[in-house]
Amino acid sequence: MGNDQSTMVAPDELLARFDARTAAGDAIEAKDWMPDAYRKHLVRQMSQHAHSEVIGMQPEGNWVTRAPSLRAKQILLAKIQDEGGHGLYLYSAAETLGISRDEMIHQLHSGKAKYSNIFNYPTLNWADIGAIGWLVDGAAIVNQVSLQRTSYGPYSRAMVRICKEESFHQRQGYEIMTYMMRGTAEQREMAQDAMNRWWWPSLMMFGPHDGDSPHSADAFKWKIKRHTNDELRQKFIDKTVPQAELIGLKVPDADLKWNEEKQSYTYGKINWDEFHRVINGNGPCNKQRMEHHIKVHNDGAWVREAATAYKNKQNAQKTNLN
């Protein structure tokens, strides 16, 4: 019973069936046969995504205790909690592929797994919280909406849930920016300063230009990814520039121009040297973010050990009673 497909069917036949299923738009589930490369790509992408949500709690958490009103504190806290929840959904989805959360955390700490580069930048004034919600979450949502139809079922279901919950994040960020642009001269200055610092890193979030993207070919064939980096980046720019203009923020790009014919914006050169420098560990906050995560993980070890020890004692007691 339980014919193991891998022993009954030739490997290239399995692969052909898999390719046909993903091409037809079928969802793949945890127990389905899948090529190693598919599994690996998913683990890499999903754990990176989960780590990003969790590391992303740090720059925003930096302002929780200094939020300027009870409402602002409440909203920010709820939003950061969502990010934690989204990290949890994604770890949970990645675990269906046979990797444990513990292992994913080890990979993060050893540098084997990455997280989004954007969180290696510091939050320096309150408007940065607005900029993260509006620009960073705005960029993330463009990507996440596209991933709702990704071929791996657990990933797709996590993304559907995440997109539903993220819808308020971008709005709260834009609301902060709007309030600040309507406020005092100092507030407007803070808002423009945040815009200047977060705009380009937000564009980098979509990854290298399509010609330079290393992991793409299989990801498209198997419908893990459904839109290219440049398509998504363009979409983000086209919807965000008018929002900036509406509240009087200047986009810090001298080459930004509306292209009537393409019905979209052309934009200046992205500084890929900076992108690679930060990815390779030399951003303003790389070390700080990782040290924070490692320290918290280590500081919490005694709590997790105690919970496990308590469970073992309770189980032993139950066994003795039987």
């Binding site: 019973m1 339980g2 014919n3 193991d4 497909q5 009954m8 589930e29 127990k31 389905d32 046969w33 709820a78 909690q81 969502d82 929840g85 949890l88 959904y89 949970s92 989805a93 675990e95 444990s100 959360r101 513990d102 955390i105 279901r157 996590a158 919950e165 993980h297 070890a301 997790r304 050990e305 919970a307 496990t308 308590y310 469970k311 309770q314």
Partner: protein
């Protein structure tokens, strides 16, 4: 100590409103059932999505093998006599 420092995993099923089916939501980590319930509540009902939760240790789930799908599920396909539309009722028959 166990090498895994993230406690055990539990599958979470939630009922959106009284009378509805319990639907799988995802998983949480916890060392015991009570903690698993609390964690599921804090993770999956932040927007009042549920009124009742089940948590089950992930290791207790037995899943069918996709390779057995033809053996397990295809035989039901031709048992159309299980469907009410299979039967012809005389003209004028009511409430049946």
């Amino acid at each position: 100590m166990a090498t895994d420092t993230q406690l055990d995993t539990w599958e979470v099923f939630m009922q959106a409103k009284a009378g509805a089916n319990f639907i799988h939501q995802g998983s949480v980590h916890a060392s015991d059932g009570k903690m698993a319930l609390q964690n599921a509540r804090d993770t999956y009902t932040r927007r009042s999505e549920g009124t009742s939760i089940w948590v089950v240790p992930t290791t207790a789930i037995v899943a069918s093998d996709p390779a057995d799908a033809d053996m397990l599920y295809d035989p039901a396909n031709d048992k159309i006599y299980r469907l009410p539309t299979f039967y012809t009722m005389p003209e004028g028959a009511k409430q049946i």
